[in-house]
Amino acid sequence: MTAVQISVFLENKSGRLAEVTHALAGGGVNIRALSLAETIDYGVLRLIVDKPKEAKTALAEAGFTVTETEVIAVEMPDRPGGLSGVVDMVTGRGLNIEYLYAFVGQRGENAVVIFRIDKAEEAIAVLKEGGAHMLSAAELGAI
C-alpha cells in the first residue's frame, strides 16, 4: 500500500517557497507534512497534502516542476523507540531508505513516518510481515 507525495523542484531564490504555499492555498489544498532537501543551488520540497491531484495541478499551473512520488506512510506509536522499530524492520532486510520524514498527526497516540524506499514492494511486504500499519492515500489525506 503506497501513499502519494508531491515533490517540487525549487531554485534557491527568495520568495520561491512562498509561491508554492500561495499556489496551494489558492487551490484549496491543505498541507499535512513537508520536508525540504537542499543543495546550495536548489532544493526539493516534498509535501503530503489532503488533495494530491489538486495540489499537482495548482503547482504545475504556477509554473513549478512537480511530480507525484509513491511513498510509504507508516503509522507508529508516538513514544521512544517507535521510529526505531519501523526503521529496523526495513533496514534489517537490507533495503535502502532514500529519505524519510515523520510527523505527529491527529490520530490518537500515533505518529506517521513517510518513507521513500527504492524497492517499495519488498518494503511493503516486510512492513506487513512486521505488523506495521500502513496508511493508504485516502487515510493519509483524511488525517
Binding site: Q5, S7, F9, T39, Y42, V44, E98, Y99
Partner: protein, 440 residues
C-alpha cells in the same frame, strides 16, 4: 627611442611600407598558386569564385579571393586543407570546433621555424634576449600556446622553463628559485600566480621578473594595470589563432598601444562581418587573415570572427608593421575561457544527449577579482524526468559536469534551474551572459 627599441628582426619589423607591400604581393601570388595546385578543395573554391591564380598579381587583388571559414576546416577534417604530403608535416595541433570535431592545423619544419620567428619578435619586443629565463606556463599539448612560445624563446637563446599550466604554488616557487625574468601565460592565470604568491608570502618586488606575455584570452586595460601592480612587471598582449599559426600573429611592444601584426607572414584585412566588404581603414570590423608563407596549411582570407580595428599611424617604437587594437569581441558566439574555445552549440550538443534536461540552458561566464574565468552552465530540469531524490539530481549535475570536461576540456559549474526560468527572448534564446569586464 626608435634606435633603442628592442627587436628580433630589424629588417622585417622596420621594413619600408613600399617594400613590405611588394613582398606581400609576391607572397600572395605564390600562396594562391600553391593552394590551387596542391589543395583540391581550394582549387574548386577558386574555380567556383571564377578566380584563376594568374590573375592574382598583387595584394590589391586580394578582394577577389573567396573567404575561408571554420566551416571549410570542418568539411575537410582532419587534413583535407593541407597543401603538402603528410611526410612533410612535422607537427599538428588542434583546438575545439563548433561541433564535435576539432579544428586541426599542421606545420612543416619551415612553418615551425616561421612560428618561432614571429614568437621571437614578440618576446624580443618586450626586451627578452639570450640570458633571460622564460617561465612558460601556457599549456603544452594540442593547444598551440605552450609549444608556440617555447620554440620562439629557444630561438632567441633564452632559458626556457616549460612549467605548462597548473600547480600554481610550484609555479611561484620556481619563479623565485630559477629567477625567471619573463613569464608567459594567460592574463587570468597571471593574476592567479600573483594571488598565490601573495598567499605564500612572496613579494614579487623581490623577484627578477621583468615582463610577461599574456594572451589566448581577451583582457582589459584594467586587468593589465592589476597584473603589472601585482607582478611588478610589464604585461604585454600577444594575439594569435591556431588556424593562422597560433600565438604570434600580432604582439605588443613596450609602447603598449596596439599589437603589431606580423604582416609579412599574415596579411590582415578588416571586413564588415555581415557583408564581407572591407571597412575603411581604422574602423572596427572582423579580422581576416591570409597566410602568406605557411606551407602545411595555407589559408586564404580566413575569417577570424575576432572584432577589432587596424591602424597604420607610426608607433613610438619605430616598427612599421601596422597595429591592431586588442580584440574586444566576436562576430560569432564563441567564448574563450581559460584559453579554451567554447561554442554554446557544443554545450547544447552535450545537453541534448542527456534525457533529464531540456535543451534550455544559459552559459554564465564570470571572472572573479584576481581569479580565473569561471563557466557556469545553467540547465533547466525537464518536467518529465524530474526526480525528487537528491542523489539523482546530484548525479545529473555530475554527469553534465564530467561530459563537459571530457568533451571540451574545461571545468564548468553546473546549476540546475526550474523549467522556463531562463530568460527567453522572442525567437533566439539568449545563451550567454558574459560578466567578465573586458571593456575599456
Amino acid at each position: 627611442m626608435p634606435e633603442s627599441a628592442p627587436c628580433w628582426n630589424h629588417e622585417a619589423e622596420f621594413i619600408v611600407p613600399g617594400a613590405l607591400r611588394a613582398l606581400q604581393s609576391q607572397r600572395l601570388a605564390e600562396v594562391v598558386a600553391r593552394v590551387y595546385e596542391s589543395v583540391p578543395y581550394y582549387r574548386q573554391k577558386l574555380e567556383a569564385a571564377g578566380v584563376r591564380p594568374a590573375e592574382i598579381r598583387g595584394i590589391e587583388d586580394i578582394g577577389r579571393l573567396p573567404f575561408t571559414g571554420k566551416d571549410d576546416l570542418r568539411k575537410t577534417y582532419p587534413f583535407g586543407l593541407f597543401a603538402v604530403p603528410m611526410e612533410q608535416v612535422v607537427r599538428v595541433h588542434a583546438s575545439s570546433g563548433t561541433t564535435g570535431k576539432s579544428t586541426v592545423v599542421g606545420y612543416t619544419r619551415e612553418d615551425v621555424e616561421t612560428w618561432a620567428e614571429v614568437i621571437a619578435r614578440t618576446l624580443a619586443a618586450g626586451g627578452t634576449q639570450r640570458g633571460d629565463v622564460v617561465q612558460n606556463s601556457y599549456g603544452y599539448g594540442l593547444f598551440t600556446g605552450g609549444l608556440g612560445l617555447h620554440y620562439g624563446a629557444e630561438l632567441i637563446g633564452a632559458t626556457v622553463v616549460p612549467t605548462s599550466g597548473g600547480q600554481t604554488k610550484r609555479q611561484v616557487q620556481l619563479l623565485g628559485d630559477f629567477g625567471a625574468t619573463v613569464l608567459c601565460c594567460t592574463p587570468s592565470y597571471a593574476l592567479v600566480i600573483g594571488e598565490t604568491g601573495r598567499e605564500m608570502g612572496v613579494d614579487f618586488k623581490d623577484l627578477p621578473l621583468r615582463v610577461g606575455f599574456f594572451g589566448a584570452e581577451p583582457w582589459s586595460p584594467g586587468m593589465r594595470q592589476e597584473i603589472e601592480s601585482v607582478l611588478h612587471a610589464h604585461a604585454l598582449d600577444i594575439y594569435g589563432l591556431s588556424e593562422i599559426i597560433g600565438p604570434g600573429v600580432s604582439f605588443e611592444c613596450l609602447e603598449k598601444d596596439g599589437l603589431h601584426i606580423n604582416e609579412d607572414h599574415f596579411y590582415p584585412e578588416v571586413v564588415d562581418p555581415e557583408t564581407g566588404e572591407p571597412v575603411p581603414e581604422g574602423e572596427v570590423g572582423e579580422l581576416v587573415f591570409t597566410t602568406l608563407t605557411k606551407q602545411a596549411l595555407p589559408l586564404l582570407r580566413y575569417r577570424s570572427r575576432d572584432l577589432t580595428r587596424i591602424f597604420s599611424e607610426p608607433c613610438g617604437c619605430g616598427r612599421t608593421l601596422r597595429r591592431m587594437e586588442r580584440v574586444t569581441g566576436r562576430s560569432d558566439d564563441m567564448l574563450i575561457i581559460r584559453g579554451v574555445n567554447v561554442f554554446p552549440s557544443q554545450i547544447e550538443e552535450i545537453l541534448m544527449g542527456i534525457d533529464e534536461t531540456t535543451a534550455n540552458y544559459v552559459l554564465v561566464v564570470d571572472r572573479k577579482p584576481r581569479g580565473m574565468d569561471e563557466l557556469e552552465v545553467q540547465v533547466e530540469v525537464s518536467q518529465a524526468t524530474f526526480s525528487d531524490e537528491m542523489s539523482k539530481l546530484e548525479a545529473l549535475d555530475e554527469r553534465i559536469r564530467s561530459e563537459i570536461e571530457s568533451r571540451l576540456g574545461i571545468r564548468a559549474a553546473v546549476r540546475l534551474v526550474e523549467p522556463k526560468s531562463l530568460e527567453r527572448s522572442m525567437g533566439k534564446a539568449k545563451r550567454v551572459i558574459d560578466r567578465r569586464d573586458l571593456g575599456e
